[in-house]
Symmetry: C2
Subunit: 446 residues, 2 copies
Amino acid sequence: MTLSNEGKKMILALQFVSGYGGEFRSWRLPGASADAYTNMDYQVSIAKKAEEGKFHMIFSADTPALTNDLSNQSPMHQMDPLVSFAAFARETNNIGLVSTVSTTHSYPYNTARTMKTLDVMSGGRIGWNAVSSSMGGVAENFGTRMLPRETRYDMAYEAIEAVQTLWGSFGEGAMVLNKKTGEYADMSKVSYANYNGEYFKTKGPLPIPASPQGQPPIFQAGGGEKGIEMAGKYASGVYANPYTIADAKMHRSALHESAERHGRSGEDIKMLAGFMFTIGDTEEEALERRRQIMDYAPEMETAQRVQYLGMMVNLRISINDININQPLPQELVRQTSPNMMDPRAERVMELIQKGLSVKDILAHGVINYHPVVAGTAVQVADFLEKWFTSGATDGFSIVPDSLHDGVEKFVEQVIPILQERGLFHKDYEGPTLRENMGVPYQYGVR
Amino acid sequence: MTLSNEGKKMILALQFVSGYGGEFRSWRLPGASADAYTNMDYQVSIAKKAEEGKFHMIFSADTPALTNDLSNQSPMHQMDPLVSFAAFARETNNIGLVSTVSTTHSYPYNTARTMKTLDVMSGGRIGWNAVSSSMGGVAENFGTRMLPRETRYDMAYEAIEAVQTLWGSFGEGAMVLNKKTGEYADMSKVSYANYNGEYFKTKGPLPIPASPQGQPPIFQAGGGEKGIEMAGKYASGVYANPYTIADAKMHRSALHESAERHGRSGEDIKMLAGFMFTIGDTEEEALERRRQIMDYAPEMETAQRVQYLGMMVNLRISINDININQPLPQELVRQTSPNMMDPRAERVMELIQKGLSVKDILAHGVINYHPVVAGTAVQVADFLEKWFTSGATDGFSIVPDSLHDGVEKFVEQVIPILQERGLFHKDYEGPTLRENMGVPYQYGVR
């Protein structure tokens, strides 16, 4: 399969995290809003800034549970992304709003209702990242134990179909609103959903009309055979976590193949690769900011990172044995080799070879969940260009270290470069998320 | 038990219905917004108008199902009240926002999360009308059959306690946000909910801090012994449907007694009686509007109303046998007597005695769910004053026939009279719903 982005523009999503950013101690940075989690004015200002930059969408990777220790970190997730999105829907005009809602721990009727209401209210800008919940801590919030993977995926298929059936139950054109004849709705276009699955049953109808994009497109996140299979059947967008261009191409190919197996075009699924960054006027300034964030972490955590870094290159090292402000001693460098279990190891090897201090290697974000660029706006743009023009991905789901200035820097410094290079749109293609993503209209179950 | 409102002001809630009003064909009135259901700008304008009038709260009596025939009626409920409320929370400053969320068909974790997020975002203005779902059509949307009343109430108790326990799990003062020390939250003030009921289990914690009012107050709706019992234990507000002052006093007394049985003060529960109105410059103008709305109904419905009206006064009449534009013939009037099964019958008798035409009797709203005043602003104010000063209720949950001008008329014409008479506050007492209602602060389970 040939993957090409020739003549195309990249799609960009902004990961909202919990309002702070991808580095959970960035809330301590000078200028950061310590109360971003609860401050809706602040959150709306970020959404507006992203829209100013023509971001295609804001993405919320939600989990209905407390998933990290808040003693010194900001939360991984929003208080409730759909509540924030209602505010964003009112206070922005074009940007898409995509939230995770669990397929395991929500009733399809409630999911369908809230998402479609938001879709109507936003003029067709909502997307649903339909994700099965895979953490024991989540299950316990809903009074159950974690279900087997197989069951969770079966439930996810049913949840999506139940929700889409409800969405389609109030037919297009059913809203008449004719004051003269008195016809409010054409009930011949409204039908029961009568969805009758093994895990979910719902009768409907759901009395909410079509939005300008029909209904929210489905997104899928997380790899694995089952994830790719599900994406091929339902997804218009996929949040992927490749670490290299090669990984990304494999994932994208698999998505295209899966789409075709389900009678769709590969082009109808847009893959967005996770990507993190810190922008400085110079690379050194960006690194200094990341060193600062590292210094906010308790010592024990830095010690763990050093140990983990060693494992990535098959070294046993401890923070007590080395000076992290110095490059690794040559006798240790000679012993390094990339750990084949970790796709990030090659990047570590490269930075060791360059003679960076251990702290600076870590500051480059080599242990982060996504690829990281700590550098200038041009370096960030170069990275995105390289991935995009190689056909690795349809776009990116970007995670600034801290939203408070990271979004502004990206919008004001990186986006103009991407636009100049012809890689990013200069304005929204249309009013709906589907139009901006370039995916087909859909109403009801396909 | 003595019920007195001496020295007190009445509490007013505006029932939002679905954006149209209590008469489901009022969407056809000249000037009405036919698209009120989906038009969020319009909905926000209504919320702002209610706030201008210092209404204590907007109330949404939700049911997660289509509950009426939309071929010529507007829907009984909003697309999703919590989505509208997120918009209202952003675009108003003082008015409370109380929504029904089912205790039967929502997971406590999801209910707790969404309601508390809204409460934080609104600065402490949210209330939860915790209602068990009693319709088969609702149950079928959630894949179950209707449960026995006993079970539903047991579930409601559990749902409220599970939600309140989750609310209290993130202790007051747990948010520290100290950039200098790096302490984000004081985790010693965060605890598991570990709620372990028969119907609902949830572990928590729910990582959302206290709002300025702690957490949303609980509301209860619907009478009956079980409803009053539940209200006594949990509710700060009750939506009641008395038709007469005597009924209202009985209900209010029962609520006070129930509160005391649960170790609370009767004053901590505020009863709001449902009340509908149509305001005209003259009574005739108001009646003419209600006749107009009646004329929007299909003929069969008017025929049914005439027949029903007859039953209320122990008469067998058909629309084919009488002229509805005339008073009842004297030989029929002589046969009338109030049907003891219907509290509204006395009012019908009174209007028959006055010699009103059958259509005008109906236009006075004698078959409506709540008492109706069709008349001038003074007549509306007089009604409210009479009920309030007699100690029948703490306030009213008012339902305009159509919100599009009904809210404005009430705010501009009725509220100034009530204020002049010392019956209604001239400004909000404080920023939170609890303060405005005069009910105590609460955090977690009582």
